[in-house]
Symmetry: C3
């Protein structure tokens, strides 16, 4: 059997055609050393505060990475064998070397996927791996990684500096205390770490535990929530706390894309009903809860016009598709599935009300690429408040990023997109993801130049804008 | 700052790969000088009748171009600043130089868009501009354009001749008198200008003013409309008038794609109800109006089998998405948004009834490219009456035209498409649009040749067919 | 007029860019001589049993090929002129030479279609045609084909051997006796011919003749069907018979993608109602029949866990779109049209119940490519039981196969797809279809190699897997 070296080719993910590749290389040279702006991360801020070494390769690369987990599961590996905890306390694999063997021996399953592209980047660049993972090299590669993890330069803060993270946003529950963020301000990091206000659990009155969360909100804000108005008021207080801690944005996921104001009486009645249901140990039914969530999302947009927090929408994912897996393992183990989303009607009330507001900024993400040219580019191509986020999640891939530019640029141009925004809880994959996006954008721009659809000087400027300036500008609070 | 020249590269929008490009160049050489057939235009026929010089660059290029307006608005420029009239009489910018400065200084916003591609073509080829527009060159480029517009060779009829327009269709309300068309027949133009029968405003009984339009129809035709039968009869009279003036086609937009005959009683009852509502100053509600419109569209197809007018359908656009903008500015200022369309069920009654009729020709356009391979190519690939129109509106772009051929040719071939059909009210952009389409088709055909999927002699013939013969043949009245 | 030669270029359907093409050639060299695994065919097994010469070129190439028929019909040729039988006994063309003239004289209509690609392959490779078909060469090419068909090496079994068919699956009604399959086991073919269990006509109680088919099922199995349980029991008996004859899979088409268990009482009641309706000469209404079909499909999946038959789903096609054509000609004459399909909700009950079952294998096909990246790749990329079938029917084309890999590989990799599965009733087109798929996959893999996204040794292995090993493994009964 072969034992091929693992290396990163300097031309990886650039177009093959020599003329286009030469231009792409040149464009990439102009963006490759730019700092990283990571505005939609899910890194645990305590990781940076504690700054302890990563425990082992499995904990670092496998167990928390639902992209990787799902591909291994699809080939018959159980989540138990991959060390994913069970809620019933049942035994799961605890030996990180065994977990890594599962991955290494199925390396072929990852062929052609971005997961492999990112992993290779991390293995080579951060973890000093020199041979391609396989059944035979599983232990060798494990040992190389373990050795690397023992060194001080792979500690979180050292990596933060090495990654050139200029700005890292975390995602935080609306009732999160943000103490770690406060503490981190004095830790001397070379870049900022800011929280993001994510109130999903408070906007969705059908979610279990909504009542307790509202009670916690009362406690934290001193506002007694008794109707829709006071709920919005309490949320605004928390938003203010986030702004004080440096937050630039809010983030919203939802069962159904809906952002429509109810009349006050109706909204209040739904909150009252939800509070009563919570007291009785029940929850609002889904249609009522969706109506209320739509009202509250609308109000969050209104509040954004006041406090300047950029509103991010991440609709169109059916979370916990498999109820048995969900019950046993909880969320984020690979069983979220995209669904078709109607952005045209779903966003209409929001855009009609705030789409021209000078202090409102709406960033919309999708996992449904069918909406790119039909809905999202036409909307972002006219409403000044709206920007298209980068291809998200299942679409954060070389070919899909290219398709995004090909489908969206015609109607929305480059400047109604946010540039690259990553979305990961895998800290070490952040540079790999930005690197890939910069390569794909360089390739796309290079083709435009080669086809005489864009001048080279403009392509250079656009490449820097997409990699760095637009992500920064798109999340700049206007007030 | 740089001050780059503005030129048109002879290879623009051709594929970058040298072998493919060489073939594409050769194919393009065979189509570049063919006359233009422009079968779905929105040029004002009075423009050609009056033949006065265009007033200024802003009036020519900016104010009427909703593609350009929307991109500038998306970056925070107001429609006021772009000189778009308000219905409330409020002040808008009137200095064309100021309006052009708004455009020139945001030239980067247009990067990668077809709008820029077309504009560059017009600027260089028609308006003698020699430097790339920018904040610094705004005045210089304005002056170059103003100078060009003062010359006799930029008058409408001179351009008509220079553009090699062999056939130009306008779009006309069903009650339009068509006097200008009649007058133009004797104007000595080197090509034909024909009207197109667009009865939307009479088919949609929910539209404001429907009653008055029916009254006008009565008056023009001498048919007293009192039920569905007489309404269709009156429309047929008007169609006859259009045919006399040279019309080749009808054109139809709609809220919902529906073309289904009602029974006579039901249809008559709806017309009676609509007339009564109109008398009372009201309108039919949307579901009733849609049912009636579906019936009338079906009857228009039947009438086409008699008078040979080609039926064009343009469904799937939500017009006036933003009600406030719509109220203040009216239509065609950039706020129309595509929606998903079900062609399979929507077209079924029409195709079952007339899809094999030897004198029926149906041309279907879409702004929803998701339907290309799933619905439109399979339908056009079997029904002899149906042809696929060119990629429309938001899809009239280099990459989308290429995707159209890639998605549609497999199942429908080339000869169930109409070849290129432009859709613009910007007279000067017509050659640019045809030029771009010819380039994209040359590139697509060249790839097939390079991949040995098509012989070169066939590609040559197909290129000419797509550029010229098919548009002409697709709109040939069979009777 | 020209009279060009008809040849097969060795580089046909490979990417044009020289570096990528060179790699693709190398990959193709590794798959070009592999045997064919044809797991979803519709070849009539009696053809191989009788082993008589094909009668004439029209019977071989035109009359049974609905891909070709529809393209000719779309250009105004009638099904009568193409020799397609009428149910009303009306006259249709019987002279095969005349039928071929219709095709040859419209050869340009096929430009750019896979139908032409396949036909060229058959004409050159099997039928010895040396000039491109056209009006002028119609008779010459007809004579060449007729001559070839008279030779022993074009008899079905000789071709079977020459095609290197290792495994050929037919599609068979659930009540088919399978005697021909039994007889063929002793015919000394160099490969296996196995039946596939297709129970659509028994699962859909709204289909005409359902009652008679159930009676036949009673008779064949000795199980008296009187409720849902006994219906499933009888179907299981038939499945057992198919397994004995070597069957590896079941195959299912449906009006609506639904696979949801009803409670026993409800399911039984529906069967009782269906039996009563059948006795009274009626049929169950569509919603009830769909509910019952969904229940039965679910039960078929459960039975698969027991007998190991791989379940194939082919949803999303509206059969017999044109009711008049359907009444006159019956099915499979080109009037089936794809419709949008919701795989996410449609497959959910099945995947939740059996998606992790070690003995369940589900192969899902689609004619709606919009679902690739949004629904199908995410589902196949996590459920171990699920594999994505090859691009099906309207999508079995060079560009669509490429788009499939581009859209699916990111999220599902290569190893959650089945590799190439053809779907044809045109025996002679089988090698052409596999050849094309191997070329397209070689081209896709070559691009990944050229872009340094995959190592060359891995691409070689993957190419062989997609062409041969995965189709074989995907249909291996696990028990």
């Amino acid at each position: 059997m072969t034992r091929p070296a693992l290396t990163l080719d300097p031309d990886r993910a650039l177009p093959a055609e020599p003329t286009v590749r030469a231009i792409a290389r040149e464009l990439l040279a102009g963006t490759q050393d730019l700092p990283l702006v990571s505005m939609h991360g899910h890194v645990d801020v305590d990781l940076l505060l504690a700054d302890e070494p990563f425990r082992d390769p499995a904990e670092l690369l496998v167990v928390p990475d639902h992209y990787l987990l799902r591909l291994l599961v699809s080939q018959g590996v159980s989540l138990d064998a991959l060390g994913v905890p069970r809620r019933d306390g049942g035994a799961v694999e605890r030996d990180p070397r065994e977990i890594w063997r599962q991955v290494a021996s199925r390396w072929h399953v990852l062929r052609g996927t971005p997961t492999r592209f990112w992993l290779e980047h991390e293995l080579v660049d951060v973890l000093g791996v020199t041979v391609r993972p396989s059944a035979q090299t599983a232990d060798e590669t494990y040992d190389q990684m373990a050795e690397a993890l023992a060194k001080p330069q792979t500690r979180p803060r050292a990596l933060f500096e090495r990654f050139q993270l200029e700005l890292l946003a975390t995602t935080d529950d609306a009732t999160a205390p943000l103490d770690a963020h406060a503490a981190l301000e004095h830790a001397g990091l070379p870049g900022r770490v800011v929280p993001t206000f994510r109130p999903d659990a408070l906007l969705d009155a059908a979610a279990p535990g909504w009542g307790q969360r509202v009670a916690r909100l009362d406690e934290l804000t001193g506002v007694r929530v008794r109707d829709a108005r006071t709920l919005v008021e309490a949320l605004a207080v928390r938003r203010g706390h986030f702004v004080e801690r440096g937050a630039l944005a809010t983030d919203h996921g939802m069962r159904t894309l809906r952002a429509e104001r109810l009349d006050d009486h109706e909204a209040d009645a739904l909150v009252v009903a939800a509070l009563r249901a919570a007291e009785a140990g029940r929850a609002l039914d889904a249609p009522q809860a969706d109506a209320l969530a739509g009202h509250l999302l609308f109000e969050m947009a209104r509040t954004s016009c006041e406090d300047g927090l950029v509103m991010q929408l991440h609709p169109g994912v059916l979370r916990g598709y498999d109820t048995q897996v969900d019950a046993l393992r909880g969320p984020d183990v690979g069983y979220d599935i995209p669904v078709a989303t109607d952005f045209v009607h779903g966003l209409r009330p929001l855009l009609e009300a705030f789409g021209h507001h000078p202090r409102f900024r709406l960033v919309v993400f999708t996992v449904d690429e069918d909406a790119y040219s039909r809905e999202l580019a036409p909307l972002a191509g006219v409403y000044p408040a709206m920007r298209l986020g980068a291809p998200w999640w299942f679409l954060d891939t070389p070919d899909s990023m290219r398709r995004f530019r090909e489908a969206v640029t015609d109607t929305a141009g480059f400047y109604n997109t946010t540039g690259f925004v990553d979305d990961t809880r895998a800290f070490c994959s952040i540079p790999a993801r930005h690197d890939l996006a910069r390569r794909v954008d360089a390739g796309f721009l290079a083709r435009l130049v080669a086809e005489h659809r864009l001048d080279l000087d403009e392509a250079h400027e656009t490449a820097v804008d997409l990699a760095y300036r637009l992500p920064l500008a798109s999340y700049q609070r206007p007030i």
